[in-house]
């Protein structure tokens, strides 16, 4: 057990966990003040609920040796994952942080109107029936996409395309927010930037930790992660200026996230110039995806599909193109690209359908249901579901 690896992997795991509260603030700043607690809570409780599910059965379902499509129950309650085999527990710990943030990403689609208690049930069901299987396909040694050679270094499919597509199902079923036709102004832009900065910081663990070692691959992943994020930010600044005459902070923050999403599958396989290409493509594609989403009138409130879905798809394709070492299209080898496209399509199909089914079922269970009623949505979810107000300045009573 290499102590350098262990030290780095523990640090990387903590970094990835920190991304979830970062996401909480990124999303929280984008919504209206009466819903910021609710939005933050969607991410924050994922840390609680998914951590417990992961230990109980999530890790086992994702990484047990159950065959091509799913794990098994060998590791229930983390049995068989002990200090005697420290690399196994380390891997399970690191992977847990990915399982936590993935469903939290989806919440951006239904922010400001989704019932909190239904969300708790959704978390458990989604990790079990959507996240664990897809993680198994791509990252477990006996998963069918892993065996096929899909190149997904840190989770472009498992995390981002998965969440982005689930977001489409969710936004479609939950419906548009009330009174948003004039557009919603973010209530706290500094939170959005703070959140994006925390995501950027934590993403170094997400990507540079995914080689599971403190080595040259990790260093390269670190550099390309930063470069792609930076390139995508610059692209969003420029495009924002071209289309609106101004460079918004929210645009810059969104560009950063888009670049980070796209470099996720590529971080172990592309070099610095490849990462600039990844960032460029991510910036351009997500910028216009967001505009298209607006013109469609589809209320994916916080652009999950446009940023994570489209960013993830581009990342998967770009990995197949720009991978170095003779395996990318730039070196004439199309195999990785083809395999990645298959992985993308499989993820999209499965996530869309199963998420849809889960939400449909939750909608009809008495006592659950997906959407806050009109009065609750107008009053704001913070006071309705959490009995709290984010900003109290009245000093009354």
């Amino acid at each position: 057990m290499d102590s350098g690896n262990v030290a780095w992997m523990l640090a990387a795991s903590a970094l990835v966990l920190f991304m979830t509260p970062g996401l909480a603030f990124f999303y929280g700043g984008l919504v209206r003040g009466k819903n910021v607690i609710s939005t933050v809570m969607y991410s924050f409780v994922a840390m609680g609920v998914v951590s417990v599910v992961w230990v109980l059965w999530g890790y086992s379902l994702a990484f047990g040796e159950g065959g091509d499509f799913i794990g098994n129950f060998d590791f229930l309650g983390f049995r068989g994952v002990s200090a005697d085999d420290p690399d196994a527990m380390l891997f399970a710990v690191f992977q847990m942080m990915f399982a936590i943030i993935t469903p939290a990403l989806i919440t951006g689609a239904f922010a400001e109107r989704f019932k909190f208690k239904t969300y708790l049930v959704f978390l458990v069901a989604w990790i079990t029936f959507v996240y664990a299987p897809i993680a198994h396909w791509v990252w477990a040694a006996d998963g069918w996409l892993f065996k096929m050679g899909a190149l997904d270094f840190a989770g472009g499919t498992v995390v981002h395309i998965n969440a982005g597509v689930a977001a489409i199902a969710a936004a479609y079923l939950v419906g548009k927010r009330r009174n948003v036709d004039r557009g919603v102004e973010p209530h706290n832009v500094p939170f959005v930037v703070l959140g994006a900065a925390i995501l950027w910081f934590g993403w170094f663990g997400f990507n540079a930790g995914s080689g599971l070692a403190a080595d040259g691959v990790a260093v390269n992943a670190f550099l390309v992660t930063n470069t792609a994020a930076a390139t995508a930010m610059v692209v969003w600044l420029i495009l924002g200026n071209i289309h609106t005459g101004k460079m918004s902070a929210v645009g810059a923050a969104t560009g950063v996230v888009a670049g980070l999403v796209a470099i996720t599958p590529a971080a172990g396989f592309v070099g610095p110039m490849g990462s600039i290409a990844v960032g460029l493509g991510a910036g351009v594609l997500t910028f216009y995806a967001v505009r298209i989403r607006h013109s469609l009138g589809f209320d994916d409130a916080l652009e999950v599909a446009a940023v994570h879905g489209i960013g993830g798809v581009w990342g998967a394709i770009a990995t197949g193109i720009f991978a170095v070492g003779g395996i990318g299209l730039i070196d004439g080898d199309a195999e990785a690209l083809v395999t990645n496209v298959i992985a993308v399509l499989a993820t999209i199909g499965y996530s869309l359908v199963v998420t849809f089914v889960i939400l449909k079922i939750l909608d009809v269970i008495p006592g659950l249901g997906l959407r806050a009623d009109d009065g609750e949505e107008d009053a704001g979810l913070d006071i309705t579901y959490h009995g709290e107000r984010a900003y109290v300045s009245d000093g009354a009573d």
């Binding site: 004039r182 107008d378 006071i383 009995g387």
Partner: protein, 117 residues
């Protein structure tokens, strides 16, 4: 000239100001307040979520506009129609206060009273 101050639900502000402009108001301003009327307060947690207390103060928005006397009924109707909750309304829909204004001055030009509205 009269000042019309409408205390309404915050989520109605956009529809009310649209209705005001349509009724002929030259402008308005909005402020967010907390207060209590017939609608009882809101229950909030204190002490790390362990205790509940009722705060009398509820968030509302006050929309203020100054118009000529002849617009009074049109503006009041516009506010009521755009801020009432449904056909019968609900407790908490708000109140409108009308008071006389003795003089108005436009800063840019120095125009007074009716020319300044």
């Amino acid at each position: 000239m009269i000042k019309i101050e409408a205390v309404v639900r915050p989520e109605r502000v956009n529809t009310v100001v649209d209705a005001l402009l349509e009724a002929g108001c030259g402008g308005y301003h909005v402020s967010n307040v907390t207060g209590k009327g017939t609608q009882q307060g809101v229950e909030v947690f204190t002490g790390r979520g362990a205790a509940i207390t009722t705060r009398a103060a509820l968030p509302k928005s006050v929309i203020t506009t100054v118009v000529g006397d002849e617009l009074k009924e049109a503006v009041v109707a516009a506010i009521v129609d755009s801020s009432k909750s449904g056909e019968e309304g609900q407790i908490g829909d708000g109140k409108i206060f009308i008071s006389p204004v003795s003089e108005v001055v436009r800063v840019r030009t120095g125009e007074r009273d009716d020319e300044a509205l």
